[in-house]
C-alpha cells in the first residue's frame, strides 16, 4: 500500500467518490456481515433515512423486512455462500411508511483469497415503472373490451336477421346483411390484430404455456376460413407427423402464427389453388410448414416482409386491404417463445413458410 497518493491519483479518487456520492441510484456498501459502512446521498430520497441514520445499522433493517423470510435467506445464500451477484425486486418501506418497490443488485467484492471484503448494493425505486406497466395493461384490457363489445352486438343482431329469426328477408336485404356481416368480421379480425400488436409494442404480451391440442386449433382456424376457402375453391391439405394433440406451448402464439400463415396462403393463392400444411414434431421442436402456389414474393421485397406495415407490391394488387401487420405479429410472437421463421419463394410460383418452435 502506498502511503501517499500523487495528485493525479487523488484527483481520480475524488471523481470516483463524487460519482458514487451523487449517483441517482441508491448505493450502499456494507461489511461482510451486512452492516452499513457507507450510503450515498440517494438513500435519503429513496428510503427517507439520512446517510447518518443508516451507517452502522444492518442494511435493510430500517427500510426492508417486508418480504418473506425465505426471500432474504436465498439472498444471503447467493451473496455470502455462493459469492454471486443477487438481483431481485423487493418491497421496501420508507421512513414515512410509504411502501415502494425496488430493483436491487447486490455484489460481493472479494479479496484475492476469495474472502468477502464487502458488499455493494445498488437499489432503484421502480414503483413508477410498475404502475405504468399496470396502466398499459389496464388500457389494453379496456380498449379491447370497448371495441369488441359493439362489434359483437352488430354480429349477433345481423346473425338473427340473416337466419330469418325475426321474419323472412327479401333477396336484396339478405345480400346486404351478408355484406354487413362480412365487414364486421373483418373489423373483429382487425381489432384482434391491433390488440396483439399493442400488446407486443407495450411489452405486455405474456407467454403462458400449457398443454395444447394443436389439431383442434388448426381445425378451428380452417373452419373459420371456410367461406373464403370455398369462394376461391382452394384445397387445403394438412399433414400431421407425431402426436400434435398434446403439445406444451402457448396456444395464443400457435393460433396467431398458424392463422396468419394459412390466411396469407389462401389470400395470395390463385383460383383453385392448393395450400399444404405440414405439422411435425421432432424431438423438442415443433415444425410448421405452410406452402402455397400463389403469387409468391418478389425478390426486391424479400428482406422487408416481416417489417411492420410493409405490404409487398404484388400483395397490394391482389388484396388492397391488408394491414401489413400479419407477418410482423407472427415474427414478434415467435421471438417471445424462442421460435424462428423463414421462407422460400419464387415470384408467381408460390411461397413456403417454415416455422420452428421449441416445445419443452
Amino acid at each position: 500500500m502506498h502511503l501517499y497518493l500523487n495528485s493525479k491519483k487523488s484527483l481520480e479518487l475524488k471523481y470516483f467518490k463524487l460519482a458514487v456520492e451523487n449517483a441517482s441510484d441508491q448505493i450502499v456498501i456494507t461489511n461482510s456481515e451486512g452492516v452499513v459502512i457507507y450510503a450515498n446521498k440517494s438513500i435519503k430520497r429513496v428510503t427517507g433515512y439520512s446517510q447518518k441514520e443508516v451507517v452502522g445499522t444492518k442494511a435493510g433493517r430500517l427500510w426492508g423486512g417486508l418480504m418473506p423470510k425465505s426471500y432474504y435467506s436465498k439472498m444471503w445464500k447467493t451473496i455470502k455462500v455462493d459469492k454471486k451477484v443477487f438481483k431481485g425486486q423487493v418491497k421496501n418501506k420508507k421512513k414515512n411508511g410509504v411502501i415502494y418497490t425496488a430493483e436491487i443488485h447486490i455484489t460481493p467484492v472479494l479479496e484475492e483469497s476469495g474472502e468477502i471484503m464487502f458488499f455493494v448494493s445498488l437499489e432503484r425505486d421502480i414503483t413508477k415503472i410498475i404502475e405504468l406497466n399496470d396502466a398499459k395493461e389496464e388500457f389494453i384490457t379496456l380498449a379491447s373490451h370497448q371495441l369488441r363489445t359493439p362489434l359483437s352486438a352488430i354480429n349477433w343482431y345481423t346473425e338473427m336477421l340473416v337466419n330469418g329469426d325475426v321474419g323472412i328477408l327479401s333477396n336484396k336485404q339478405f345480400i346486404y346483411l351478408k355484406e354487413i356481416q362480412k365487414c364486421n368480421t373483418k373489423m373483429v379480425g382487425l381489432v384482434n390484430t391491433l390488440i396483439n400488436v399493442s400488446k407486443l409494442e407495450m411489452d405486455t404480451f405474456v407467454v403462458s404455456k400449457s398443454e395444447v391440442n394443436l389439431e383442434e386449433i388448426i381445425k378451428d382456424i380452417i373452419l373459420e376460413l371456410t367461406p373464403v376457402i370455398n369462394k376461391k375453391r382452394i384445397s387445403i391439405i394438412p399433414k400431421y407427423v407425431g402426436n400434435i394433440r398434446k403439445i406444451f406451448s402457448d396456444p395464443k402464439v400457435l393460433d396467431i402464427v398458424i392463422e396468419n400463415l394459412i390466411t396469407n396462403a389462401i389470400k395470395y393463392s390463385k383460383y383453385r389453388g392448393q395450400v399444404n400444411i405440414l405439422i411435425k414434431i421432432v424431438k423438442d421442436k415443433l415444425f410448421i410448414v405452410v406452402k402455397d402456389k400463389g403469387i409468391g414474393i418478389l425478390q426486391k421485397d424479400k428482406d422487408k416482409i416481416f417489417t411492420k406495415m410493409f405490404r409487398a407490391t404484388n400483395a397490394k394488387n391482389q388484396d388492397a386491404e391488408g394491414t401489413g401487420l400479419g407477418l410482423y405479429t407472427v415474427k414478434s410472437v415467435l421471438k417471445k417463445v424462442g421460435g424462428e421463421i423463414k421462407f422460400t419463394s419464387v415470384s408467381n410460383e408460390g411461397a413456403t413458410f417454415y416455422v420452428a418452435i421449441p416445445i419443452k
Partner: protein, 127 residues
C-alpha cells in the same frame, strides 16, 4: 310437454343482453336476466337456473367475483357456467384458468356466433 330449460343471463350491456335474451327465447328457453353480478348472484341462488351465461366486466360485482361466490354454494358449485366476455390481454389468462374448473366454460364474444353459443348451451344441457 317437457318443462322449458331455464337459462340465466348476467350481462350489463343492453344491446348484448337483449340479443341473447331474444335468441334464447326463440330457442324456447325460459330466460332469467340480470344486469350486474350482484343481482345475478341473488337471482341464481333464488331461482336455480339450469345454466348461466356470465359476463366479466360489470358494475357492482365482476363476473369472476360472482362466479367465486356462486361456487361456494352447494347448488352453485355444480351449475354449468359459460363465461362470455370480450376482455383481452392477461385477464384472459385469469379467466381461462377459472374456466378450467369445470363446469365452467369460456367464450370470446367477438369470436363466436349466437348459434355457437346456443350449441354449447345445448351440449351442456344434454350431459
Amino acid at each position: 310437454m317437457p318443462k322449458p330449460k331455464v337459462i340465466l343471463i348476467i350481462e350489463d350491456d343492453e344491446s348484448i343482453g337483449t340479443v341473447l335474451l331474444e335468441k334464447f327465447k326463440k330457442e324456447e328457453f325460459h330466460v332469467e336476466f340480470a344486469q350486474d353480478g350482484f343481482a345475478g348472484l341473488e337471482l341464481a341462488l333464488n331461482t336455480h337456473p339450469d345454466i348461466i351465461l356470465l359476463d366479466i366486466l360489470m358494475p357492482k360485482m365482476s363476473g369472476l367475483a360472482t362466479l367465486r361466490s356462486l361456487r361456494k354454494d352447494s347448488w352453485g358449485s355444480q351449475v354449468p357456467v359459460i363465461i362470455l366476455s370480450n376482455v383481452s390481454s392477461e385477464k384472459e389468462e385469469v379467466i381461462k384458468s377459472v374456466a378450467k374448473d369445470k363446469p365452467s366454460y369460456y367464450m370470446v364474444k367477438s369470436d363466436v356466433t349466437l348459434d355457437q353459443i346456443v350449441g354449447k348451451v345445448k351440449e351442456l344441457m344434454v350431459v
